[in-house]
Symmetry: C2
Subunit: 416 residues, 2 copies
Amino acid sequence: MAHCNESYLNLQGSYLFAAVREKADKYKQVHPQAQIISLGIGDVTQPLAQAVITAMHKAVDEMGNMDTFRGYGPEQGYLFLRQAIAEHDFQARGVQIDPSEIFVSDGAKCDVGNIQEIFSASDIVAVTDPVYPVYVDSNVMAGRSGRFVHDSYEGIEYLPCYEECGFKAGLPSHDPQLIYLCSPNNPTGAALSKSDLTMWVRYAKQTGSVILFDAAYEAYITEDDVPHSIYEIDGAKEVAIEFRSYSKTAGFTGVRCGFCVVPHALMLETKKSGKVEANQLWDRRQCTKFNGVSYIVQRGAEAVYSEEGQGQIQDILSIYKKNARIILEGVEEAGLHASGGINSPYIWVTVPKGMTSWDFFDFLLHEAEIICTPGSGFGPCGEGYVRLTSFNTPELTEKAVDRMQKALARRREMKA
Amino acid sequence: MAHCNESYLNLQGSYLFAAVREKADKYKQVHPQAQIISLGIGDVTQPLAQAVITAMHKAVDEMGNMDTFRGYGPEQGYLFLRQAIAEHDFQARGVQIDPSEIFVSDGAKCDVGNIQEIFSASDIVAVTDPVYPVYVDSNVMAGRSGRFVHDSYEGIEYLPCYEECGFKAGLPSHDPQLIYLCSPNNPTGAALSKSDLTMWVRYAKQTGSVILFDAAYEAYITEDDVPHSIYEIDGAKEVAIEFRSYSKTAGFTGVRCGFCVVPHALMLETKKSGKVEANQLWDRRQCTKFNGVSYIVQRGAEAVYSEEGQGQIQDILSIYKKNARIILEGVEEAGLHASGGINSPYIWVTVPKGMTSWDFFDFLLHEAEIICTPGSGFGPCGEGYVRLTSFNTPELTEKAVDRMQKALARRREMKA
């Protein structure tokens, strides 16, 4: 009889967002008039930029015409898009990336989940804690973990990110071969500085480990000292794979496009002590198990880099960035500690003393009719925090902050 | 140091289409005036149906408007598309498939490549020979094979498909747990009848194996006795996963959309002799490593099922079907044996006695300026055959057949 992949049985249910939804639904049943505002949502709300819309209409028309119809495209993505990426995302920052090092995909989540396939199943994985669950779950599925014990998987190295260290992980004590870093971070909003990243690249070079660098939120960086790409660090091409996404940059969550960079300089070891290019393995993976991104979508992504597109996209980003500032300042005014929000759409709030993440979730839902995401859902070190996002509309974001402040003020009065 | 997935090193280079291109390029260099016609191409040439174009324009507009913008969609696909699939592809043929058993994807190649992830790495795989390479390569990557010896991988069971048996495989001698079947077949064009498929379902039920049924070419079926879905066979829901694609049905090769059906009745064994739904595992796989298909593309796929869309798509399909008949009859008139082409866009031609697949490829290129695909590239049993496709335009298809007939006539005269 056919057997299941036994590693799947180690996976924990993805209870976090289901539990959030259940609690919100229950509240709505009891309070049918409630105008709940979600700051828990990780999805954008602003429509696509006009330049993207125009480009996609044009591409749709091309597909309806015999002379301009396009069938199968290159699995790696069309050269027009890969060249635009190389020029605007890298050359413009002084980084030379060849189009052959760029692989266009239907989103960073897919790349981040699939990339582990090119590595040995016995390589050890390190993740920061709290963490975006896909890094962990995709490795559990591939058999790189043991059972789930004490809120974490045996065999995976969790690097704690404490408030005292600005929510930045220290170097691993062991020598993991695969290290997932996300900067600006989901969920904490912490961004690694040039010197932070230099430390990681140095460590990876010394130990021969590979950094899987998730830069999905780079468009939210506002500080000069925070690199947008890990390749801004000397030598990073020998040790790092980078993941990018148009989801949060250009509102592509429902359009589906991203890319990853696998430099030719990054070599993996073979059992016979030979070496093989990671780029070559990923290319083979993509050519076998993937068939390229929709032509229409790739033309939309290309338009993101046009002068018109850039202007429109910065306008949209500035809405979310302003929301982030309003939430961050509002939360701090209300007497809570918060971080993130400066280089990130996420604000990471320390819950009031004596409360758990879920306690504060309940408080915000019942006292301010606001939905947040409990930090404990992102890993053991997320306990005591909640994540707020800046993706709602400016009006509802301001309203939410106001409600939150009033609820916290009432709580102080009651305690006094 | 990070290690590569050692199984990738077992993979053979995908030389087939590269070699075809190289030979064609060389010929063009020597004969710059040559008007080469490709019947090797596996890609469609007709533009998208107008109903699809209209639906995608509408969806693009929705994405540009605050009130109708859509962010992340369900990983499994929008219900509007899954319901349309359940109704038109299955209910209409008397098959009850619940939308929760349907998973929309960015193409059948991805699904066919990824599905093996939910099975144990020690399950044994059977494929027909000749075979679509993705079935084999994705399993080699996952470690289900040994080395490549004598034109095939150790550890994978190849089921020979001989001309004497209508290019249909017999039942495996061993008990593989995973059996890939493609009907109508790529590359041979052979289609499994109702009784053929009943035999396979019966075998799978008895042995507990799972049939991975690739129905990407079902739209080309013209004979009543050939099921469009394996679920037309009683009991198939307990043993089969089915793959479908809009690529060859509706010209979506560059748009990217397909789906697979994982019935709730299909159970896999766990080590502790428990059972788990394959549907549940695949759902978890997709939710972790995939993020759904572009909303615009899903609206395009939905339009395929509209009355207008169906009419337009049948018109396009009839062009390719007519091409197939012209090629099949033309090749037979020229004195060669050929099969396929009746329920399939592929015609499988027996090469003249004394020639190999590559010999005949060279003959067609040099004597008729036609490109075909050598059968030996699809597996050892493909030696002695070439694949011709019906996806070129009617004009060029007729021209190609004429040239082929004249070249073969000249050859006969020279031999006489």
